[in-house]
Amino acid sequence: MSVDMRTFLAHVELANPITTAAGCASSGQELSQFFDLHRLGALTTRSITMAPRAGRPTPRMAETPSGMLNAVGLQGPGIEAFLERELPWLAQRGIKTIVSIGGGTVAEYSELARRLADAPGVTALEVNLSCPNMEDRGRVFAREGSAAAEVIASVRSIMRYDVPVVAKLAPDVADIVAVARACVDAGADALSMINNPLGMAIDTEALRPSLAAVTGGLSGPAILPLAVRCVWQVHAALPGVPLIGVGGVMSGQDAFQLVLAGACAVGVGTALFHDPYACLRIERELEDLLRARGFQRLADAVGLAHRPPGSAPRHLLVDTEESTP
């Protein structure tokens, strides 16, 4: 028996829930040497910026317990080159593509949306809100509900109605639900969480920060419990909103935790650095776990851990009913 792994990001159907996490699969070409990208639920690009960006100085990464820090600084060739070379490559192959964008002002996000509005091959637009807001002393958009909402409202008004706008949230906030709600109220069709919490490591030989940029984003298994918690809280508060769960997913079991917490799709980031085939493996493992527990459809597991204690899972109730004569 095979499990129906289809999922919906707003009205967009994905063949399975596993996507690459923004910034962890570049624009897909590198991974395509390892496997057929059509097997992904969707490919999420690195965050595209207006101008080309050289990023941060090296060292850009440091390993931490069950995690790593990165300070890449959104290195990339900018929207022109993306539209000219990278997006067409994906579009021609018909690969479901979630385009991530990053900006420093509302105007910059809006301009990026404008450029992408008519580009073929944009399955969904993910708005990376973990960028410093240049109009608010560099305060990160994702840490301020109203700034995040402003970006989302503008981007939503620009993008074609049939391209879902996904707001990507960061966990470094006192109240993730408040930020989530602000984004949904501003028109976000879905939410993605979590981006990297800010961390730091110090090189005890050099007696200096390990990263040239001093602080960096923490990713990997260490942050899985934060991701599960954020997805749980937001799904509890906004049960109708599709969530992409991201953060520390290394196995099907990790993905399953996020699904049970309320995610209908799951992003895989750091795991790709360890295993280029991680998305395929995780998808298979997730399917196996669902099958072993009697699920016929992924959709039946989404948010299932929220059911009141004592109540049997619905998918099993159905089974029982069917077997009663």
């Binding site: 900018g78 650095f273 360890h274 295993d275």
Partner: protein, 283 residues
């Protein structure tokens, strides 16, 4: 490709550890200069990133084996040093851009420092097979850290050894010996694998002699396959523009003259997309 290989043999070579791993798919695709990335720590480890190691040797036994030579630095290489025959090792490779070989027979000087020398031996084999002349300059902090001196002597026309403490060969660095080797051998090209500082000096020497240098660099790598953007360094392109390029897929072998060694660890102000170039508004 990803391969779960079995460790065939482990041995100490002077100050280094050497592991031979059965990895047919990797051995088959291998060319000199390639590296692999190795998962470390075993199941449920807290170490999430792979370790990049050059391929020192490839043999046809057991369908294909690769040999890795390494020094213990942190917990990952310490774990590798504890592997024993019959343990399994998870490798991804072959990775990177290998050493380009000269079309016609040429005089080649191969410069290696510490474990960096390891990657030069299969290169020397390939060069000799093409009728090139090969001369080695190998160095290290002390005698036991000069890798492969014997093997170099067997295959090269000349082998020059340097140690910083003078315990073997000339006292000094490989770059101290390099000018006279280039001059004596009338070298056409230099191949080098060493720490960044040494590569910088090697490149400077080669440029003085106006010959090309192919330098294999070492940058901290999280993925090794070009998706994480952590391994970049400033390299000048054909168009004269400096870009922050990935050592793992665009390297690790670069034309030395193209690498802005003095600017490694920075974003040169004139690099494409450098802050100030109009993109200063995002981070």
């Amino acid at each position: 490709m990803q391969v779960t290989g079995t460790v065939l043999t482990t041995r100490r070579v002077d100050a280094y550890h050497a592991l031979t791993v059965v990895a047919p798919g990797i051995a088959e695709r291998y060319r000199p200069g390639h590296f692999v990335s190795v998962a470390v720590g075993g199941p449920h480890t807290s170490m999430v990133t792979r370790r990049a190691l050059s391929i020192h040797d490839v043999k046809a036994d057991y369908g294909g084996t690769v040999e890795l030579v390494f020094t213990t630095r942190g917990p990952g290489t310490a774990w590798l040093a504890e592997r024993r025959a019959r343990d399994t090792l998870d490798l991804v490779g072959p990775l990177g851009r290998p050493f380009p070989l000269p079309r016609d027979p040429a005089h080649c000087v191969l410069v290696g420092s510490e474990y960096g020398s390891a990657v030069l031996f299969p290169l020397a084999d390939a060069l000799l097979a093409r009728g090139c002349r090969v001369d080695f300059v190998l160095g290290g902090a002390g005698a036991e850290r000069v890798f492969g001196a014997m093997r170099a002597r067997r295959m090269a026309t000349t082998t020059t050894l340097t140690t910083e403490d003078g315990s073997l060969g000339l006292r000094g660095k490989v770059t101290d010996a390099l000018p006279s080797v280039i001059a004596d051998t009338r070298a056409d090209v230099v191949y080098a694998c060493a720490p960044m500082e040494t590569l910088r000096s090697v490149t400077a020497v080669a440029m003085e002699f106006d010959i090309p240098v192919q330098a294999a660099v070492e940058e901290s790598m999280a993925c090794g396959i070009g998706v994480c953007m952590t391994c970049v360094l400033p390299v000048i392109g054909d168009d004269g523009a400096t870009r922050m390029v990935r050592a793992c897929v665009e390297g690790p072998v670069f034309r030395g003259e193209r690498v802005r060694f003095e600017d490694v660890g920075t974003i040169p102000f004139d690099a494409l997309g450098a802050p100030g170039g109009g993109a200063r508004h995002v981070s």
